[in-house]
């Protein structure tokens, strides 16, 4: 079938895309380019460097890469993305979608509703709820677990914000995988069941190959979002003593509290590059599989 079903034509298509592109161009690409430029300067919001920022070339980058705090932050971010997005959100989201896949009725609605609620509530409210939950002295969790005085946020800051972010972001994965599972023909699963396959074998042989595209979309989006997620700031503010200072918080701290906007911009750009690499790896994975398939076919 011709993809241009409505007879749009190039001209009209451009007309349709243009408004969005203009808005994106002005309010996204332009500031982004500006930010990249700022990253090459020693620009600060106040002080002498605010009056006359100097182009310092790659100094910010060498400084960042040489900075222990930056490297530590990068490592924390990797843990955060891996733990909360790739394993936590994607894993939990998939499990929920899998368990609910052929359910109807109130259980499904309530579960989905709660998971979604965690996603759509404003982040400042959510942050406060979690502070209340994890509070050392009066937190609900300590009351429930009979562990009075256990300072979750101080003793286990990374696990805390990872669990927090799993709670916050699982909805997206759940919905995406829900849609994906709806695309797995029941007959395929049943064929596997008839052959005697266990749940794990069904997942491995039927479901995962089928929803690989969804898995990658999901991982790509949630990894990017988590990489740039700032909401943990409202819970630990990067603390205690930087032990949960993931990159977005690090940038905030150096750019805003420290006033070093040029340096912050440079790190933002580094983050962009890292994101790019992550995205590239994901897309590469997708492509490799397809090429495998093609090669197999080509072989006599």
């Amino acid at each position: 079938m011709s993809p241009d079903a409505a007879g749009l034509g190039r001209g009209r298509a451009v007309g349709f895309v243009l408004p969005a592109l203009v808005l994106i161009g002005v309010f996204l690409v332009f500031p982004a380019l500006w930010t990249i430029y700022l990253g090459l300067t020693d620009y600060r919001l106040t002080g002498l460097e605010a009056a006359e920022p100097r182009v310092v070339g790659l100094d910010n980058y060498t400084a960042a890469l040489g900075d222990e705090r930056f490297r530590g932050s990068l490592w924390l971010t990797a843990q955060y993305v891996l733990g909360s997005a790739v394993i936590g959100q994607a894993g939990l989201g998939f499990s929920i979608a899998w368990v609910l896949r052929d359910r109807r009725g109130p259980v499904k609605r309530v579960t989905e509703g709660l998971v979604l609620l965690a996603w759509i509530l404003p982040s400042s409210v959510v942050a406060f709820l979690w502070i209340a939950l994890l509070d050392r002295d009066e937190g609900t969790l300590n009351a429930l677990l009979h562990t009075p005085g256990l300072a979750w946020l101080l003793d286990h800051p990374m696990p805390s914000i990872i669990v927090f972010n799993v709670w916050r972001g699982t909805a997206f994965s759940m919905m995406l995988y829900g849609a994906a599972l709806a695309n797995v023909p029941p007959s395929h699963l049943e064929t596997a069941r008839l052959a005697g396959a266990s749940t794990f074998q069904q997942l491995r042989d039927v479901v995962v190959p089928r929803i690989k595209g969804h898995v990658l979309t999901n991982l790509l989006l949630i990894s990017l979002w988590t990489f740039n997620d700032f909401s943990a700031f409202q819970i630990t503010a990067g603390g205690p003593e930087g032990r949960s200072e993931i990159l977005p918080i690090y940038i905030y701290n150096v750019a805003l509290s420290g006033g070093r906007l040029g340096f912050g911009a440079a790190i933002s750009f580094l983050v962009l590059i890292i994101n790019l690499v992550v995205a590239f790896v994901y897309l590469r994975l997708l492509r490799t599989r397809r090429e495998d398939a093609r090669r197999e076919v080509a072989a006599p």
Partner: protein, 438 residues
């Protein structure tokens, strides 16, 4: 931009005031005073002079850092309110960035011949001075003391009129309190979670008590003996159970320490007069103590040893305070100056207090109002003479963070030498090795 667009009619001009104050917020009185006292009276006074002046107030209610960002962005793009509230510590960096200009440059010679200057002590004037030029009118100042809970002291057999003369006496009192079962004998803010409070309430007064200023004669204090003494003191408090190290790490640690003090769980707390006025104030405080006047004592922060403080003092303190500046890009600099000076007149300053006691910049007003509150009188009479101010430079916040990190290190068990060395490294990275004094 808004605000400085000049006239809102023929001949009529509009002036805008902005402050990090908003009705319903922490600084609500300031917002209310601006709206209900300053604006109507100033407009009336101008009308009497035949001028049609319109004044608007632009409130705000966020973290100081975010407020600062917003103001800086405004000034950077040459817009913003005509009269702007700033923290005194920002004056230098704003001046360096060209965001603010000396008052005389903006408003003309009237600024230097203002009647009020005579009422403001030189030290307080310093809040608005950078490079020897007056950039701002100070609103008032504060001082830091050691608060102590008399009931707990009594329990521990300590004098109800405690006057520590050295750091050792503080530690001794702490040990006594600890023996008496006080959960947190001493709370001196430490660590990065407390932010600037650590520097202001802890590191800097202690440094002054050890005889050093963080910035003197164009050099920043590095890992000097004074600094090591300060870190050593922290270490003694937090590794011997005199203080609660966890409390220093919590994001809401400072608020919690207020609450703990009010609950009678903290023996000694280093804080500013704000704590007295707004936190444990029996009626409106956020952690009110009904018997504040009887139960809470306050003492000067002693130098490490008598005479070991800066300038050879026996006691030390740190002060800060807010100022107001004129927007150099104002379309109506002269009327703006009139407004600013009006806001700092004795009458206006007194009105801003609205009956509450607090240390204003003007001696004439202080003389009238401080009599009612012995604590503020104490600050004014005994603390301000020994106090010191932070350097108003753009890199100061980063140095402050480095200091906080050094305290955090020792609180979490790092040795003093290591923490000091790491501070030294960071400081050199921030200001350049040649600007660090050892």
């Amino acid at each position: 931009g808004c605000g400085t667009d000049g006239g809102s009619g023929d001949g009529a001009i509009t002036l805008v005031i902005t402050a990090n104050a908003i009705s319903g917020g922490k600084n609500a009185e300031s917002a209310d005073w601006t709206k209900q006292w300053v604006i109507p009276r100033f407009e009336a006074a101008q009308k009497a002079k035949g001028r049609d002046v319109h004044v608007l107030f632009q409130p705000s209610g966020v973290d100081d850092e975010q407020y600062k960002t917003k103001i800086a962005l405004d000034l950077k793009s040459r817009t913003g309110a005509d009269v702007i509230d700033l923290d005194g510590i920002w004056v230098g960096e704003f001046a360096q960035a060209g965001y603010v200009k000396p008052l005389a440059e903006v408003a003309g010679p009237e600024a230097d011949s203002w009647e009020g200057w005579g009422q403001i002590p030189t030290a307080v004037q310093g809040l608005g001075i950078f490079d020897g030029k007056r950039y701002a009118l100070p609103q008032g100042t504060d001082g830091r003391v050691l608060y102590y809970n008399r009931k707990l002291f009594e329990k521990a057999g300590l004098p109800s009129d405690w006057r520590p003369a050295s750091w050792q006496e503080i530690l001794d009192a702490g040990a006594a309190l600890k023996r008496a079962g006080v959960p947190i004998p001493i709370q001196v803010d430490a660590g990065t979670a407390m932010g600037e409070a650590t520097t202001m309430q802890g590191a800097l007064p202690l440094l002054a008590g050890a005889g050093a200023e963080i910035y003197a004669n164009g050099k920043w204090t590095g890992a000097s003996q004074a600094l090591k003494d300060v870190l050593g003191f922290y270490r003694q408090i937090y590794t011997t159970g005199l203080g609660d190290p966890k409390l220093q790490q919590e994001a809401q640690g400072r608020d919690k320490s207020f609450a703990r003090f009010a609950e009678g769980k903290i023996g000694i707390l280093a804080e500013g007069d704000y704590f007295w006025r707004a936190v444990i104030e029996p009626k409106a405080g956020v952690a009110p103590m009904a018997n504040r006047d009887a139960d809470v004592g306050y003492a000067l922060i002693p130098a490490a040893r008598p005479g070991a403080g800066i300038r050879g003092q026996d006691a030390v303190s740190m002060s800060g305070g807010a100022v107001r500046v004129l927007n150099p890009f104002s379309k109506n600099p002269k009327p703006a100056w009139e407004l600013l000076s009006f806001m700092h007149s004795a009458e206006a300053t007194a009105a801003q207090l609205a009956g509450a006691a607090r240390i204003t910049s003007r001696t004439d007003v202080n003389d009238q109002v401080l009599g009612v509150d012995p604590m503020l009188k104490f600050v004014s009479d005994e603390v301000l003479p020994v106090t010191a101010y932070r350097p108003p430079l753009a890199v100061y916040p980063q140095v402050s963070v480095a200091l906080q990190e050094a305290t955090a290190d020792v609180v979490s068990g790092t040795s003093v030498d290591e923490a000091a060395a790491s501070y030294q490294r960071k400081l050199e990275a921030i200001v350049g090795a040649s600007n660090v004094a050892r």
